[in-house]
Amino acid sequence: MSVAKILEIALRTGRVTRRYPYEPPLLTPEFRGAVKIDPSKCWGCGACVKVCPPNALTLKPAGKEATLEYFVGRCVFCGMCAEVCPAKAIEVTKEFELSATSLEDLKSRVIHRLARCSICGAPIWTEAELRTVVKSSPIAEEYYLVCPKCRKERFAKAAMLRLGAGSE
């Protein structure tokens, strides 16, 4: 009776259930779980923020600080942020046991202090990024501590001076 064939299949197969959480989950080595940002490596450059499709990563300046926030509750686990991170600060973990009772618990933040323009005082970039840039290519302080706007103005002024226009 082939109707009963299913019994034969069942007998042969036995029980396949994984007793998770008492047994390990059905994970493969390739699984992409939540990402983890290493605050000691992150520059706060925002490359990950630009590439993140659902805006799970945001970089918001506020006062003297800029906060890089990772909201795992909106993450789509594509791992693109880890691929583009120039500082290799983002790691794709195998973590999937992320449940929480409040949305706040799903957020992790890295707070960056902002360096300010030595002329106008506007925030330019994060101190961490600044240090990295200086380390890799020594440039003069008058450059890295001046915001692009002031730099442009200064350049224009210098150029005009050179052209002999003088101060108006």
């Binding site: 069942a10 036995g14 029980r15």
Partner: protein, 284 residues
């Protein structure tokens, strides 16, 4: 008598456990672990802790469910009473009482379904009605025949087969669970219930399975010809065995459709009944 009462009470308490076993075995056929054996008890107990939401037509509903439960308990009690001396020696009163009670259960289920102001529930109720019309007469005839103790070995065995099939139908399992068919009716007759009322409905569906299994067990044991305490014990032991067979059958089949189910039942039961009449007539 005392033993019958004890057996009935024991079986009532054990019915949810049998149901848990059923789920466990079904799970095994699905190659999974399944719930704990006491799961049906857990479900029932939980439902009774929940708030009471009275559905539309609630007063009616509660009355009908209570009556249905009573009828089920009464019919299983009668079965255990008969068990102590074998189906072949049941009195006419007992037989008629049992048959009336099973019809009452089926009718009440329909009333319960229709009393709810929900279209799925109503469709479910009518399906149940059609099924009842196709199974109950055969159940009654075969039961009465066996109870009369008349007939040859051949006719008795055919009557037992008819009883077994029709009692399987009233247990409300696949392929005949069309009244609660989930895909099209979203659990049909129970859709509006919640909390303790749903708990009652759960108990009554478990008891239906118990009555069905006990009935078949009784017929089989009587066929073997035991009587007295040993017969009662045998029925009590055979009930879970029959339940197990019901489980396996329902797991390896699919759900029927109301027209197909009725056509199939009529053909099968007519065939069996004709054989029965024939064997009676020929006195085999």
């Amino acid at each position: 008598m005392l033993y019958s009462v004890a057996a009935a009470v024991l079986s009532l308490a054990l019915a949810p456990v049998y149901d848990g076993l059923e789920r466990k075995i079904r799970a095994a056929i699905h190659t999974r672990i399944g719930p704990p054996i006491l799961q049906t008890w857990y479900d029932i107990l939980k439902l009774f802790t929940k708030e009471i939401v009275v559905p539309v037509g609630g007063a009616w509903y509660t009355l009908v469910t209570a009556l249905e439960l009573l009828a089920l308990i009464a019919s299983s009690a009668i079965l255990y009473h008969i068990s102590s001396y074998g189906l072949g020696h049941a009195t006419l009163l007992e037989s008629v009482a049992f048959i009336v009670l099973t019809s009452v259960v089926a009718t009440l289920a329909i009333v319960r379904a229709v009393s709810q102001n929900n279209v799925f529930s109503v469709v479910g109720g009518f399906r149940e009605f059609s099924l009842m019309l196709s199974a109950e007469p055969f159940l009654a005839v075969s039961f009465l025949l066996l109870a009369s103790g008349a007939g040859s070995l051949a006719s008795k065995s055919i009557a037992t087969a008819v009883l077994a099939v029709s009692s399987y139908v009233i247990s409300g399992r696949v392929p005949y669970d069309i009244a609660e068919a989930e895909p099209e009716l979203a659990s049909g007759v129970n859709i509006e219930l919640a909390g303790p009322l749903l708990g009652l409905a759960t108990i009554s569906s478990v008891l239906k399975k118990l009555v069905s299994a006990t009935l078949t067990a009784l017929a089989l044991i009587s066929f073997v010809g035991l009587s007295g305490l040993s017969s009662l014990t045998a029925v009590v032991i055979a009930t879970p065995v029959v339940w197990l067979v019901h489980t396996v059958v329902s797991t390896i089949l699919g759900r029927s459709r109301v027209d197909l189910a009725i056509r199939f039942l009529y053909v099968l039961l007519f065939f069996l009944s004709s054989a029965l009449v024939l064997s009676f007539g020929l006195g085999l």
